[in-house]
Symmetry: D4
């Protein structure tokens, strides 16, 4: 019901002024005091609710999952601890947990995977962040192609994958240390590259700032950047792009 419809119904006396006011004011969320759940988000943004678990108590996390599970088949939690997983699992038996990426998820309705997103890492130590992106992208209904340990220290390893990467609608470049993978990828492919700096490295990497600056300053075209270690955020952007293309071609 949009504003016009509401007003029309008021005029037609199908709707009392009091009810119209309630609807106009009614919040599309459920209030748990410590959190406000957004059940309408799927219709608004196209994806189900995702819970960022870090910094929430076990009890808060469990309560949020429980309330979401009453209205959603599938729920994704990022940066979840083992303890958070266990208390959720105790309530919702379909809960799964991946300790590498710290993704907890409830999938009760199968998710069809369409289109293609490629996810690359510079090194082995970047894989946890990449897997956060992979599991998120799959949860959002995207097909994923993994291409790990192809950093610029041995660029020939990457060159061999260029053709495959160009099949994807979006490429996620996950790299720590100097983070040059994003630039190199963007120079080689013709699809948008979403770069994820990671905190992998030491010394003057400043917990990922070095890679972040490299990516933000890239002189290559077609690269944009998300926060350090934010595999989830990159997957969200890539999902939006992939979905737009998939929907346009349907």
């Amino acid at each position: 019901m949009n504003i016009y419809e509401i007003l029309e119904r008021v005029k037609r006396e199908e709707l009392s002024i009091e009810d119209a006011e309630k609807i106009l004011k009614k919040l599309p969320y459920e209030d748990l005091e410590f959190a406000k759940l957004d059940h309408h988000r799927k219709s608004r943004a196209g994806y189900g609710e995702v819970v960022y678990c870090e910094g929430k108590t076990k009890e808060q996390t469990a309560s949020i999952f429980y309330h979401l599970s009453l209205e959603n088949d599938n729920i994704l939690g990022t940066r979840a601890s083992e303890e958070q997983y266990e208390i959720i699992k105790a309530q919702i038996s379909e809960t799964d947990y991946d300790p590498l990426s710290k993704i907890v998820k409830v999938v009760r309705k199968p998710i069809e995977q369409k289109g293609l997103i490629a996810i690359c890492t510079a090194g082995t130590a970047d894989i946890p962040v990449a897997e956060e992106a992979v599991l998120t992208a799959e949860f959002f209904g995207n097909r994923v192609y993994r291409c790990y340990d192809v950093g610029v220290a041995g660029i020939h390893r990457l060159l061999n994958h260029v053709e495959n990467l160009n099949q994807a609608n979006c490429i996620i470049a996950v790299a720590g240390m100097e983070g040059a993978l994003g630039s190199v990828l963007a120079g080689l492919v013709n699809k948008p590259v979403v770069a994820v700096p990671t905190s992998v490295g030491y010394g003057a990497n400043f917990g990922g700032v070095s890679a972040l600056l490299t990516m933000i300053n890239s002189c290559a075209n077609g690269i944009s950047v998300v926060n350090i270690d934010n595999g989830y955020g990159a997957a969200y952007v890539a999902s939006q792009i992939n979905r737009l293309v998939v929907e346009a071609s349907e």
Copy 2:
């Protein structure tokens, strides 16, 4: 000609070994000593060559434009000075210059504009960066919707545009100072938001770092970031996304 075709032609003796080797090795660029022009980029990346003018001498810029103009109808230059424009114009009469965005361009073949990219600014002082994005996006064949001065200090100004913004395949959010526009937009629309921090502001804005950090740390979904004042870069990413959707729907 891909590798397979080359090898086949060698086998069929349609191509001498020496020529095949030359082709395999031949660089797809023209060497001006101080610059290596990439005439094949259009076929590789889908867009014509763009010249980043800052830091190049007038003579270098003019020479690069001249050589590109022999093989390209349309050329775009970013961050060009008045002086660089004049020396290019002296050689190529179809050259145009926009002093606000510092874009210089040669357009000798009309550019059809398809799909839609929305470009928003938080304030009036962010417009030069936004216009760099607008002119770049139009040069790359995208239709553009401008939505300026809708920053979060008066959020009701933005709320009125949400419906229009959701028509676009990609939204560019240009904002300086605290740079919150990106987050707010990403929370309101369901299309990828490319955020451009600007150096607008003073004091602890650190030449745009404040806005950059705001955007990188956004807790909203579907936002990725380019360098401070990099309207061009945002437009490139948005063009890739818009083109993918337009091509998929054709």
Copy 3:
């Protein structure tokens, strides 16, 4: 008219659906393309529109002042250049300019000054920022007490003023270099202190960051901080506080 009233009028057929929709959607601003003027802000926030002039072209600034002057008696512009002033003055003869604080203002309706705000500086070089605060506070209808050059290097100069300062409802502390004035003031008075770090100093003052950090880390109670050199912002906060007290006592 609030939502309930609108709905009621619709029901009573005093208002057509179309008009009600317009009102509900109507933006309380005027759109100049490069700027969206907020004529309703006075009723919403209690003050007239203020124009941040930096980064706007002369023409944009003049146009904004012109349109505002049609609906407002008094207008304030901050960080205005001599050139911007002159073009405004050419259109609106009541325009005044203070080159020290870079404040341009149009005052056509006398402003009554109530309550009290005290504005202190650590040194002489901090005065331009302090004067931005003074002129802003006076424009917003506050009485102002100036207390300049009372920095901590000679703390006896400050101690003599404590009694006077405690008459004010809010105290603005303007200081560069090490910026300790804020802490010392907050330890001596029992009114809220709004601290303004300034870029005065050299070397490791980092353009005001040193003073900003001092103020943000203050172990004194009752101090909050605005941006470096942001005299306007401090005056706005102080005005809100002073007005609340004045209105409560009326």
Copy 4:
């Protein structure tokens, strides 16, 4: 006794020179060697003594609480550990502890709560900092309205609360990550907003610096900022404002 009174009494020989000198010099604090307790602060600043517990040994904390409890009914301790609480509790049975906000307090005389302060958070993980503000504000005699998890990623959740927030004399905005809540609030309400950046987030949030910069650079009016995670400091400022208004209206 002010200076004039002391001098008069000396003249009237009601006070010996030696005693007058002692009084003039006498420090309004008790010296525990490792700490100097300020028993007169309540009369000077209007609030009882507050103990910042972090970095003090258990024994120091207990000793400070003990000496304060001899002259004060109510005492507040911030950033207290479980261990510090237990040793205080052993001496003063009326001691309470809130592990979320790390507030320890002794309340032996009921505290009347007047006026209104609103305290908002962007997310659930910001609640511990907000609760430090809530408990401090209540200890200082302010009525508090909580409004949690209304961050800009879903701005419709916030819009519903604007009317309530405007009832308060001061609004505290607690937010980590990009910290845009402060700007958005200040754009929507017409009361002073005290913004508290939190260290919630990861990567380029730099332990709260990102949110701090966002808030300091806010282009909204009426916002000032305290240190990262400094719920106490924000509550102190808000209390001063609320008390000024309450007292003015009495």
Copy 5:
């Protein structure tokens, strides 16, 4: 007159209560509105008033010098511009200016120079800062030994001076770039070293931060640091030390 004396006089009725109160409250400074001159500082700190000229208008500087010249024979101004000098000179004919160090001074009573301070620079480009220290130290009555261009890139140049340097009561080490001179000096001499980082250098020297950090982190003993380019501040500290020794030996 100390407090006891004042009280005694009041009792003896040699001093009225009103006068006593005035004296107790009377500020030892002259108020020029934009500056508060501290004529008693010489007796308090042992040196005449010094004027930090940067950021003051020509008129303010001249006025301050004029008022000081009525009560002081000698006045020192630091970071003075050519223009500031000229307007002071027009009023006080004994004014001298050194464009290298930007020191302006009025010396009408000869200054005896005692003890010894050594002032070293790493390179030639550090000399302006060193000369600010030299002229300040001489103004404050210290004998000075210059030792320039003895940086660590050719450490043999420095080793030859060690014996001379140990004659001084304090050594000032002025160095930009990597700023290692301070550490090396402190390792070679047994007198306090006051280190002055300079902004000499480029790139990652960050305007002197590199040298500042080197000096602050020095693993050598007996080194303390002042602000970047703060020759004046180092000379002040060195003067205090030298004077203490000279006075003790008299």
Copy 6:
């Protein structure tokens, strides 16, 4: 086989097109999914594969060592934990571990040591980083001269070693805190100095940034810098230099 040879063999029909394509595309690495091992690197870069162990799981590290051990006699691992060592040792009995430098290595074929590299530290606490460099350099076939605890706080300790240091083809300077050792060494010797800042120190050393800036800003000639604590990287560069000289003189 280079491109020409491959093409020739295709023409001579000694090689099928399909096989030629495979060879041209074939990657010179082994793919373990989470890592891509580069068995050809020795021939390309002149050294065996080195494994950066930090951030890899025990299982990944063991698997990488196992696969490398099938094709390499000697393997080096840096930043290895005790746990990683033990699981490798369980598979490859010739494995050795040095807990100080965290170097794990498999040496099954004796390594001849040639030329000379000198490795100096400023203090005792810098030794772990220096030993990483020593063991790496020896693994790569260089003779090493250790010279520890010769920092600038007591420069006479260093001067005694200058003659010995000049025997080396490259000198590695390892220093934390102010990191001046690199500059001093480069001023005293005439061989390339590779400087390694360490995180040794506290406070404003910022985990090694202070030493890094000192070294990067060195006004001495012949110094270049690697990452904080990167003993391995310095040894690699020094090995390249030493090997070039050794090979040239053979």
Copy 7:
């Protein structure tokens, strides 16, 4: 023996050329491989050897103390752990340890304390750093006056001590958070102030950087700064000053 004496003895054949060369070259230190002990430092710098224990293994620390104890009556160790203390104690029974300041010391010959150094802290949490300064200063033969918890949040506590502080030859100001104590002290006393920023605080104190910047940017005269938490370094500088004055007055 200086160079002249050595040469004279060679000429008089009292010293063989070989022996003279040895003496000229002989290092005034003992080489433990991992450390080079400087037994002559006392004669050179006037104080005994001090051991910086952090980052050294227990065994290294014990060995260094053992070798020093053979030639020195008194030894000081800073930043020592409980474990390091115990292993030293096992070898040298006169060893004492203060867990607050982490000072370990061997005092077998009584130390006469002369002159006066005052050591102030802003808060209770700064005491560990202050005590490192106190114990160091006493070890170096200085009399010490403690003045703790006199920070600027309650400046009246400090004002009462000014007279006492001016008795000292040097004042050490230890402060975290905003670190304003240094400036305030330097404005009140006329002796050199050595300021020690501490890491006490949270949020934007950046581990002490805030206090460091405040102190470095102080607009007060007569203040110089050492590293964050470097109580030892401040005591060393203060000792040099105090000793110079004491010796001059003897």
Copy 8:
């Protein structure tokens, strides 16, 4: 004459004690008061004196060149201004100036060029820094191979040059913006890479810090880094390496 020879001559009475002392103490430099010229450096370091002109007055620069020209055939000056050049030229007619690299040089004795150093840039705007390196390297007697505009945005341009680059004994990688060229080069060649970050770029490049961090954090082997824009420093290191190899092979 080394120490032994001096002593022997003293003993043989060929040298007076006084003369021997003079020689032992005599500094191998000429003292111009503001500068100490190091005429022996060529014998010590193998190269002639180089003058860093920035921050020196015209007169100082000219005087230094004049005194050096009396004892040296060839002199190099870096970062020289047009004005400095002209005043030198007036005295020494063989002076040449290159405005791009800001190199001024006097070459009166031809310089033979041996070995090979390769110098690469990422872009055209990096050429001024590269040319500083080229002219320095040639001045020091190295043959140079230029390879410009081969940045990673179009990596195929670089791949074509790998074979040539491996001919060099050392490769200098000059790059601004994200500075990935260093890593990519080090991954492709097997010679030491000296990386020079440049200040080319804008926004979050922070005047070259971004490129510096990329290079310092490089995960490629065989790369070390010099200061931002320090073409001279890179050329010095490369010259040392090239000379060592050339001398070893002679």
